[in-house]
Amino acid sequence: MKKKSTALVVLLFSILLLAACSSGEDSKKESQNDQSITVNVMTEPPSLDPALATDNKSGWILDHLFEGLYMRDKDGQPVLGAAEDVDISEDRTVYTFTIRDDAKWADGSPLTAGDFEYAWKRVLNPETGSKMAFYLYYIKNAKAYNNGEVEADEVGVEAKDDKTLVVELDSPVGYFEEMLTFWSYYPVKQDAVEKDKNWSANADTYVGNGPFSLAKWKHDDSVLVEKNDEYFASDEVTLKEIEFAMVDDANTYQQMFNAGEFDMIMEIPSSMIETMKDDDRLKTEPYFGTYMYMFNVEKEPFTNAKIRRAFAMSLNREELTKYITKAGEEPAFAMIPPGVTTDSGDFRDGAEPYFEENAAQAKVLLEEGMKEEGWNTLPTVELIYNTDENHKSIAEAVQEMIRKNLDVEVKLLNQEWKTFLDTTAQGNYQIARLGWTGIVLDPVVMLDAYLGDSPDNETNWLNEDFDRLIEEAKVESDLEKRIKMLHEAESILMQEMPFIPVYYYSKTYLTQDRIEDVAYYRNIYPNLKWVKVK
């Protein structure tokens, strides 16, 4: 009896071991498969419907499944995509696109101008309830239709015939070409959308027009895309398959990368960055966004511009990025991050520094400000941030710098994310953390956050000159003049400082040596269209 059970245990154990070994071999074989890669998208993309997607991760997968009239080249510049030609009117408000003859849907049917008209009007249709509809408001009557004021046929987008799409804008938009690469402007196939309300949730009903097509979507586990042979530039695509896996835990995806199960991971934890500093698999790419602290200018003591400036000058950004955030961020002294190309180089290079870090001067400025307001002691200051380890470490370092340099005690308070958004929206704060990114590489999309009537401006700061300059710049068709106006606007903003810029964002990636030609972009996740497995 006893012997039997011992034998059973031994048998079970050896089966287990055998199974373990064989499954290990399987997964290794798989990863050696030619031209198929696995990357980590971390979480379930909330939606793969171009009209409903709102987040970067859905956008990342969508960028591989669709292609707009314009697309991004390897350097991130907008170039013609599904359109082969465009004719822009002299006042830059009417765009006439010619759709490529060889542009097709993944099911082989031809892609027409009507598909774009249908898709854009679908985004704007109030019943769709698209959260991104406002990104299409540049189009004539788009906003009115989205508000239910006019009918769909009054919207300024019309397919003249299968190949010709005419788009009319309210006023010229300096970055419209880049805007057209954005997923809200992707076409969708009317038949597919109307046949099944949930067409975008399953691979069987999903139709795109991009370099890859959706092969399998295992919710909360992975999205598998495979090469789309109908794609007009499919000869540029070497990869056969990309699996976007959803592994959210940093320690886990780091282990999986080390085990060779992932070809690319992102958002590398700082502990890992440190150990991999000299490893050339680690990439740090600048990202078009600014980490900042905003002031509520109606709450004392930040009603005073000098005091706001004193706080901004008292930080040591070099120290923050080098020892706290560690992911290659760049200290920020303005609102607009590097990355905007103008005729005379980067937008950032064309502007004088607006302020410098100087503890002694900051202290003097603080005293001047207090004198102006007639205060002997500074009212208590509280800084809020949304609950997160990284925000916490930054806030604590900032607290210490302000204590040391200004002799001011800042209280820290953290709130859960949606509560935090609610608090700041209602203006119940003095200093609050804010991260701001732009979906196109243009100063306007950054600066308009501080327009007096912008729903994003939670600082209560209002400056008519600033508002006027931005509005004028938006419709200015002389590009050089436009950039000059935007420099001027930024300079007003930085004079008044309703916020403290801290650093310009960066993104960290780890890619295995076996893959090459990843196209890294400044404001969206990298495109894997040109990737080759060595």
């Binding site: 499954s23 949930n198 919710h219 959210d248 320690n251 886990t252 282990q255």
Partner: protein, 312 residues
Amino acid sequence: MNIYIVKRIFTMLLTIWAIATLTFIIMKCIPGDPFASDSRALPEEVLQNVRAKYNLDKPVPVQYALYMKDMLSFDLGVSLNSETRTVNEIIKQGAPVSAIIGLQAMIIAAIFGVILGSVSALNHRKFIDYFATTIAIIGISIPNFILAPFLIKYFAVDMPLFPVARWGTWMHSVLPSIALAVTPLAIIARFMRSSMLEVLKQDYIMTANSKGLSKYKIVWSHGIRNAILPVVSFIGPLFASLITGTFVIEQIFAIPGIGRYFVESVFNRDYPVIMGTTIFFSAVLVFVLFIIDMSYRLIDPRIKLTSEGDGK
């Protein structure tokens, strides 16, 4: 017996309704907008369209009535965060995965917990007892978010017996099940030990001893069977929470279960998912409690399932 069951089912439905209503009220009281996001604030006109789409523009009592109406036809609505997925789908796809892990964990915890507890009771105040108790205390005090990465490091990376994470073959379910089982195992062992100690003092054990029954026979048919009763009543709620998924374990092992939705839906203010997961959990819980009550009868024939009415 039949009347008892009918009454029981009625109370179960009432409980679920009460939980749903309370959750609805509490959920509407927490500050935060499901459509507030980290990037741009949505223009008012866009927000109006979105709110209208989900009936969130209507007064709260109307929203409640609409929700209850849909709930009666088992339609739990569409997730606000993931707009192309219904809550029914989320539960249908995630729950079986969570249930597998939970069930395996429960089996491991129950078997080893009962054995460990019994062994230490039988060796009261001997080395084995102290050893088992220490293991139980360690099991209770190590949180699974520490244990899970530890298991990954040793059994998936250093010694690649199992996959690091993700879902697929049964091999993928081994480490998460173990990680999930440790704490309940330790708790069951502690319960079992004290319950067993109590039982071993009883007269019938002495009788069995003096009858000359073998030690194994005594422990098996007189000891464990009696000692397990309090453990079973404790296992009920534990079982319900294990099979409905665990956020931490599913997060660390990247398991496509339902557990994460309990937590993330609250963070996202994803109202239909908050409601759906809560109703799902309470349904599982009341059902499991019902089954447990029924199973008492099997374990202990002295217990009769009667409602007050039956007795007369």
